[in-house]
Symmetry: none
Subunit: 203 residues, 2 copies
């Protein structure tokens, strides 16, 4: 499509302006090995650069937090981990490298390349700072829940992409459940268009 047609199209259907900031990326990792959590705990507990917690009677995973990059992880004896707190997929990979180094120091044998799967992306954002009439939105949005006395945000379950958005009167939002940044953008755009269609914006 030639550029002049694209420009004309954009003029006819101006893009809805919005903002998105990825706040948390959760990933599951498989190191294809087994880990002695008791030894790991005893060895790492004295390291001031780390936070380590292990209470198998309440939770089977060992909690390990590192500072660079600032990431938390749940380490399981099966060799699988869960990383949380990353601000990007790239940061998840850096985190895996660091966690792997630490686990090797406690005697864990890691030969294969770790399998990394992003399981959830949480993002905050806004619809160009336009405030929302949540009562009206709750009335017209399918699969929405709005109980302000329980929680101030409207809970909106989007089918495609399969995500959940928390919409606030201020026009701010939280999107969770996405597996890629693209899905986050699509979720916010779809929701923005729908809110516009049902005239849920105050202006």
């Amino acid at each position: 499509m030639p550029q002049y047609i694209k420009d004309r199209w954009d003029k006819m259907t101006p893009k809805l302006d919005y903002g998105i900031v990825i706040q948390n990326v959760v990933a599951s990792i498989n190191l294809f090995t087994t880990i002695d959590l008791v030894t790991a705990y005893q060895t790492l507990i004295d390291d001031d650069d780390l936070f380590v917690s292990y209470n198998p009677e309440t939770f089977p995973g060992l909690i390990l937090k590192i500072k660079k990059p600032k990431i938390s992880s749940l380490v399981f004896s099966s060799g699988k981990l869960v990383l949380t707190g990353a601000k990007s997929t790239e940061m998840v990979h850096e985190g895996v490298v660091q966690m792997t180094k630490i686990l090797r120091t406690v005697g864990t044998k890691i030969d294969e390349d770790p399998e990394i799967i992003v399981q959830n992306i949480v993002a905050s954002g806004h619809f160009n700072h336009r405030t929302i009439n949540l009562e009206l939105a709750a009335l017209w949005l399918e699969h929405s829940m709005y109980e302000p006395e329980q929680f101030p945000g409207l809970i909106y379950r989007l089918a495609e992409p399969k995500t959940v958005l928390l919409l606030f009167q201020s026009g701010n939002l939280v999107c969770t459940g996405a597996k890629t940044e693209s899905q986050v953008r699509q979720a916010v755009e779809n929701t923005y268009n729908t809110l516009d269609e049902i005239n849920a914006f105050d202006f």
Copy 2:
């Protein structure tokens, strides 16, 4: 009936294959005496081979557990007991012998032969590992209850023999309420035939 006719019969009506393992036999016992539970508790509490518990304000029976055979019993001041955890009727009898010995050491006079009545047999089993369509089974089985969100098994109340079976999608089952091993077999066979008739098996 001559063997050749038996063989021919078996060929015409091949036995449905299934498995049964008795997991728990519950029996009530009457020692025809009275038992001082406070004395029994104080005397037996120091024996490391036994587990003893007695809280009359919450339950009137004294709880006594032995290791050989591994059986638990509820002992009442009336001289009656309830044995649970046995894997066979024979094991119940061994349990009564051991329990009797222990109760004599705490001053209980036992002259008559104990009356032993098997009250319930619990068994696990399978229908030759054939998986079941529980939705279909629930539709056609009389006296059946199936609420997967509450419990994954279908509850089937058999009239003859009067038992209750828990049927699972995997083809595994639990039979309870029977008073003899024969009743367990009959219950499983009857249920197997019925499930076959209503085509509840996936293959």
